[in-house]
Amino acid sequence: MGEYLSKYFKLRKHNAQVAFKKAKLSKMCYLFLAPYAIIFATFYILPVITSIFYSFTYYNILETPRFIGPQNYLSLILQDDVFLKGIKNTFMIAVITGPLGYIMSFLFAWLINELPRWIRAVAVIIFYAPSIAGNLYTIFSIFFRGDAYGHVNAFLINNGLIDSPVLWFTNPKYMLPICMVVILWMSLGQGFLAFVAGLQGIDRSQYEAGYMDGVKNRWQELWYITLPNMKPMLMFGAVMAITSSFGVCDVTMALCGYPSTDYAARTVVTHLFDYGYSRFEMGYASAIATMLFLIMILCNKAIQSLLRRVGT
């Protein structure tokens, strides 16, 4: 009996010691994580919560926020024609440039993968540079300049295709397509880098095993060996592509003006800026931000569940 009791207490003591050590280790972990966690919570989590809160109020910074229920959302969807135009434009840009940019990122990463080392390094720089080149895209406003000194207009006039210069960024017919070209030009970003790196990391012996098993051409190799190996990078690239394609505003604002003719280049984010920074209707702007947040998260979740099935 005594032996049993002493064993019991020994075990208890041991457990307590382990728990103490664990607590000490956790404390250390929390201390290391704390600086990042606090700043992250303040500038990334708290804003989302405040945004949701203000979206149910009327708030113009000067007066205290007044609770008005779902009124902001109802006005956005039922009465705000400009917002609906913004949603339409954003979805159009996202549906076209999102998947296309994503496919381009993968395709070019895959095609340059087998090039000799230094050519590949140069190719990565050429493809990636536009996305880190800040506002180099403003060069397109000179290239597509509305007068006869713009290259596109000069070329078309010289060849007799048009007789007077086209106002590329003022005519609603051309605004969005040109913006999409520019966005696609800039779309080989972080996702592209992840693909290049991921393709380099695939074990070569898998390909050799593939030849033995009768993989006939590069397409079969892509589907049966490369893509399944790239799944985590494909997920990462998809997140990058969706997030950037729904957040479009820089390019359209810089090229088409703000506000653009007939709101033809308005996006959800431009609308958000309009109400947030020009009209100071923070409650309304928060409702726009919350909707944008939901759209981005839902799209990401949907695409991720789709990508899980690649190569299976």
Binding site: F32, I45, A129, L136, L193, N217, F246
Partner: protein
């Protein structure tokens, strides 16, 4: 010995894939070449624009390449800069300060957090990482307005901190660092601990020197974000404005400044691109561990 290895390896690598057709290879090379030309064209066009004298900028028909390249636009730009109300070196200082402090802080703060998340298990750790992953999924614009209100509450409006402190917590760098650190062998850390090093020493002495590629990646993403930051909504005193903002003021100075505007663009974009060129291989090493697992 080493030479022998190379000799054996070299033919293996050079060997063509048995399942590739020559026609397909040639087609791909031509396709890639055309796309590369299209991708690089706007950059070449911008550089040539910056080198064109004024009469060539407004020539009909316009030419892509400058016929009499000159650096006049750049020297004119310096003259314009000299005339600004706030000395131009001040703008350069502002941007350099914001970029340097923001990047250094981001590197330290995010690496510390990433280290414990990657190497230890503790309650709440995985939940926190899930939150960071969700933060990757929405862009900066979603939080722009509440961020302004929060920074206003903190009293940081019109200070450098309004840009610097939020940059410390950029989710992208944190995410990449954590994924990269997971690849570090745990035995390395345990060995140091047996030798009596505490966590801080392990972090600074063992972990950080071993994740240099990830640093460079964090640095380029952070520099790119901060260097191009106009900060127009947070900073309104002229003497605290950033370089990009000041240069854009020059840019919007009308037709006569067209050449200078293009010179501005070239100067602004050269910094992030040069950093990328010099750190490409390390960045690619980091991106190899960027995958999202579920």
């Amino acid at each position: 010995m080493k030479k022998n290895e190379k000799e054996i390896k070299a033919p293996l690598i050079k060997k063509r894939h048995p399942n590739r057709s020559v026609g397909g290879d040639i087609g791909i090379y031509i396709f890639l070449l055309l796309v590369a030309i299209a991708m690089v064209f706007p950059l070449v066009y911008a550089i040539n624009g910056a080198l064109k004298p004024l009469d060539e900028l407004f020539m009909f028909p316009p030419k892509v390449f400058a016929r009499n390249p000159t650096l006049d636009n750049f020297s004119d730009l310096f003259v314009t800069m000299g005339k600004s109300w706030v000395p131009f070196s001040r703008y350069i200082f502002n941007t350099t300060f914001i970029t340097a402090v923001g990047t250094a802080g981001h590197l330290l703060v995010a690496s510390m957090g990433a280290f414990v998340l990657a190497k230890y298990e503790f309650p709440g750790g995985q939940v926190f990482f899930k939150l960071v992953q969700i933060a990757l999924m929405f862009s900066y614009y979603v939080t722009a307005i509440p961020n302004y209100l929060i920074i206003n509450k903190l009293g940081w409006i019109d200070t450098y901190w309004a840009i610097i402190i939020p940059a410390f917590a950029m989710p992208m760098g944190f995410f990449l660092m954590k994924q990269f650190m997971e690849g570090l062998p745990t035995s390395l850390i345990e060995a140091a601990k047996i030798d009596g090093a505490n966590e801080w020493k392990v972090f600074m002495g063992i972990v950080m020197p071993n994740v240099k590629p990830a640093w460079l990646t964090m640095i380029i993403f952070s520099v790119q974000a901060l260097w191009n930051n106009k900060a127009a909504t947070y900073i309104y005193s002229e003497e605290k404005k950033t370089l990009v903002y000041a240069l854009q003021q020059i840019q919007s100075g009308g037709i006569a400044r067209t050449g200078q505007a293009q010179a501005v663009t070239i100067i602004v974009i050269s910094v992030p691109i040069l950093i990328f060129v010099f750190s490409e291989s390390q960045i690619l090493e980091t991106m190899a561990s960027s995958g999202l697992k579920d």
